[in-house]
Amino acid sequence: MIVDNKRVIVFVGAYGSGKTEIAINYALRRRRLGEKVTLIDLDLVTPYFRSREARQPLEQEGVDVVSPEGGLAMADLPVMPPRIAGSLDDRERCVIIDVGGDPTGARVLGTIRKSLPEGDHDILIVLNARRPFTRTPDTMLESMGRIEAASRVKITGIVNNTHVCGLTTPAEVLDGYEKVAAVGRESGLPVVFSGALKEVVAQIDADSFPTPLLSISRHMLAPWEQPDEYWKRTTPMRLEEWE
């Protein structure tokens, strides 16, 4: 993937576009490519299902997670995580930033925009054509414009993350690509990759698909969606243990 050449990758997008799963899985990709990776949870607006909740599996794979800690980790307060500047300055590290949704969530990006390494970062917008407010190229462009205005950064690429969870077929991913490609033509931005659940990626002929594919393993799961390994644990895993 072309974006693998950049040291810092920032994911923005409309609320619920799938930034967190994309950021987690992309961080794991870079880790598996052999890099030192830090994932910064800069989502200050969403109360549940944030990347900090996947800290344990990410750290097991050697990804450093930077997020609000201690007593405020589970609060709905705009707490800036510590160590942001330090992580961005470390030239040996690939840094992935998961930004909160919508212009409201993206605003915080403005405060760190001057710390992003010149010429060595990408700001990627995650788009899901099956989400209520980004179902057409026009509304996608509107969402992009509002996020850029709030965050004071220029988006440099597009991620197609069109899906309907477990009901997704390759047809949705391709249909979504066609919509985001129209956004790309209008804005002059490249569609850098498409994300899809690994079961869906397995049904797609990667060579003929118009973009590279990022295979997604879901980390934000409801309690009844826990995988089989879950049952093998002697002590049940609880939400607080994800801390």
């Binding site: 549940y48 589970m74 099956r130 989400r131 009901l167 309690p223 009844w224 049952w231």
Partner: protein, 356 residues
Amino acid sequence: MGETILMKGNEAVAEAAIRGGCRFFFGYPITPQSEVPEYMSRRLHEVGGVFLQAESEVAAINMVYGASGAGARVMTSSSSPGISLKMEGISYIAAAELPCVIVNMVRGGPGLGTIQPAQSDYFQATKGGGHGDYHLIVFAPQSVQEMVDMTIEAFDVADKYRNPVMILADGLIGQMMEPVVFPDGEDRPNTEKPWATVGMGDRAERNIVTSMDLNAEAMEEINWRIQEKYDKITKEMLRYETLDTEDADLILVAYGSSARIALNAMSKARENGYKVGLVRPQTVWPFPYEVIKDLANQAKAFLTVEMSMGQLIEDVKLAAGETPVYHFGRCGGVIHSPAEVYEKIEEILNGGGAAK
């Protein structure tokens, strides 16, 4: 049916309200339901409706009272502490026999509590909460799609019985994303409301909406009339689901997101040879007492699975007779895991543990 899209529970309940004909929304933000007013603020004006962020929950519920009295299809939403603030207004609305829809995305309590999911507002939703002898009709969806279907219907139900309807969900259902389909076609039309306070028109008599009558005998009459309506609702509005109860030794009783966790545990128990079934109330008022009563003749025990210290269990015990009823719950915002529910099932069926 329309295209399958991906929605958060909070967005879906708001869109479903619009499809159900809701044109007025009054609310105040609180986690984990703030996406409901946010969505309404974005969408309602597109359909000619009114979104208003009130100065407080108390103000919001009184705006609901006013709009409903004028015949509108109207909704408010909040989460636990905010619903407590609305209680006075809810009692007034029930007494004045006005239709409206109230959403509660329950969070951990008591007090200001946490922002994580809970089911500890069951008593408040089903047994009053506000003052006086009144009932809400309470739907308890277990998925985003079910919440959509129930919310669209809720406006017709509220109008039919001239009674407030509550959608009782929790932070998990509000925040999680699932694929949903909305029905094609026009939004549901508002019903004819000859009682609404919209001016005299051609009528000879004034329409009055009030919850007050200082004559005790007259107030008792109003109570009798409302009770008759509740009897009718009890017969007509009961909804529940049973699963694998036919041969079950142990029957789980759970609603909402707890029912999905209970179902996981139950599947595991069945795999391991335990005869376990599930009763899932889809309305928690009215409650399926008769269903539990019938099953009590056959089952060895019941187990309620709920995100509370034990509220649903009281309704189950009312119907279970001599059959022991156990309880398993986590609370304060902690969600039980399927594994710990399974452990409780094993413990009961192997003769351990005491019924509550």
